[in-house]
Amino acid sequence: MRRWRGIIVPLAILVVAEIGFRVSIGASDSLAPPSRAMVALMSALGDGTLLANTARTLAGMLGGLAIGGAAGLAAGIAIGFSETLRRASFLTIELLRPIPSVALLPLSLLIFGFGYGMEIAVVAFATFWPALILTQNAVAQIEPRLIEVARLMGLSRLETAWKIVLPAAAPRLMTALRLSAGLALVVAVTAEIVSNPQGLGHDLMIAQETLRPERMFGVLFWVGLIGWGKNAALLRLERWLFSHRGEVDTSVAA
């Protein structure tokens, strides 16, 4: 019973919205009551268009996250370990990082054209920075004693990275992954709204242009569900991976 208590408030909002709409507005080209949004969502799910668009958005999001996350992870470990690299890259990072990823959409469109390429490129750019910075932090916070133990045992640099650094930083890296994944979804949908004619963002734009607010609200609800599901899945993964260590980092709930 207790675990369902959280659903009371969202349900109440839906009911109020439904009643409010029916009493005061009645018919509209810009708003729709929850009941009609749900009907539109069901039919969009039924005819396969929404699932196809979801697959495209997820492909853009995960493709970009994989590239940006992996590159950020590798660069973060390298910079975290080398004072020389850190000094050499500091200014470059501080100059590039503040560029809003969305500002690169026109350039990305010019280079890649419509399709997955431009979306993945922008998502990769967006997620590279948090991955880099958080990995660097995670590496910096590794217990120095462990690195000493690795040196004393004669582990090679690669072995140290694989057997000490990665597992030691893993709980913080999971936090980085959760933050980056959240950002990846935002940027992927934004890219589709602004310029890439595919996926959930494009679905929203079509709903807007064809004056179908009920579909728009239905898709918005769906995007929210995807974000929630993604977060829940990552949290479960995190618990499963680190529960025995007693060191799950839940300080940042992305």
Binding site: M153, L155, A170, H244
Partner: protein, 256 residues
């Protein structure tokens, strides 16, 4: 100074860090199978001495030798047991996995590792805890695990940096006896750093007392107490009491 039988030797070693002298003119050698204890006030450089021997630091002048060869980098010949066991163990690996790390570093084939790990865990009494993670073990057990891991390296010199400083008195005594038993079984050469005079007397064949600021050798004393040592008999032995009195005054000088 160069002694062919020495397991390790310090030859006129000076160390400065950031222009500040930390150790000054340290010369002594320790023979194979000898148990040497270093005592001194905190900050006197006794841990630094150990780090030089481990190859984690390089002397400003002078030479540190292990097995006759100058030490330049860490080597598997020298294993270290740190005081902060909870930080030195890998929390994501079980007891078995932690010992395995040393074997992996030595490129011991995976198939061979279990038969080498089991006797090491048995030696420190952790057989029933082989699949537990460090956080599931008591402090004493974690320190035993660190000792097992250091033995897996099969070192010729074992360095212990205040290994029992964070343990309660009872656990400390049982671990002292375990370390003595292991050292005599393996005829290991041990350098044991502590700030506890009685611990040094109880364990050592020799006690080296250091002055502070900069760290210098204040006194080097042979401990001719019979072995095996016993927590009651050894600590009541007249020679133990005499040495305790003698070194106690040295320690007072050191702290003054």
């Amino acid at each position: 100074m160069a002694n062919s039988k020495a397991a390790f030797a310090f030859e006129g070693v000076n160390l400065e860090l950031g222009g500040r002298p930390i150790l000054e003119d340290i010369s002594f050698s320790v023979g194979r199978g000898e148990f040497a204890c270093v005592i001194g006030a905190s900050g006197c450089g006794k841990t630094t001495l150990l780090r030089l021997l481990a190859g984690l630091l390089t002397p400003t002048s002078g030479t540190v030798r292990v097995g006759g060869e100058p030490v330049t980098t860490p080597s598997r010949e020298v294993a270290v047991v740190f005081q902060d066991y909870s930080r030195a163990l890998l929390p994501w690996r079980t007891a078995t996995g932690n010992v395995s790390l040393a074997l992996e570093a030595m490129d011991v084939p995976a198939a061979e590792r279990p038969q080498r790990i089991a006797p090491l865990l048995a030696k420190v009494g952790l057989t029933d805890h082989a699949e537990k993670y460090p956080t599931q073990l008591s402090g004493g057990m974690q320190q035993r695990l660190q000792i097992a891991r250091s033995l897996a390296q099969d070192p010729s010199v074992l360095l212990m940096d205040e290994p029992f400083g964070a343990l309660d008195a009872m656990t400390r005594q049982s671990l002292q006896d375990e370390v003595l038993r292991i050292a005599s079984e393996r005829q290991a050469t041990v350098l044991f750093v502590t700030h506890d005079l009685e611990e040094a007397l109880y364990l050592g064949d020799r006690v080296i007392a250091l002055y502070s600021n900069p760290g210098r050798i204040a006194r080097m004393v042979e401990i001719p107490l019979p072995r095996p040592r016993s927590q009651l008999a050894t600590r009541e032995h007249p020679e133990f009491l005499r040495l305790r009195r003698e070194l106690f005054t040295v320690m007072e000088e050191i702290h003054a």
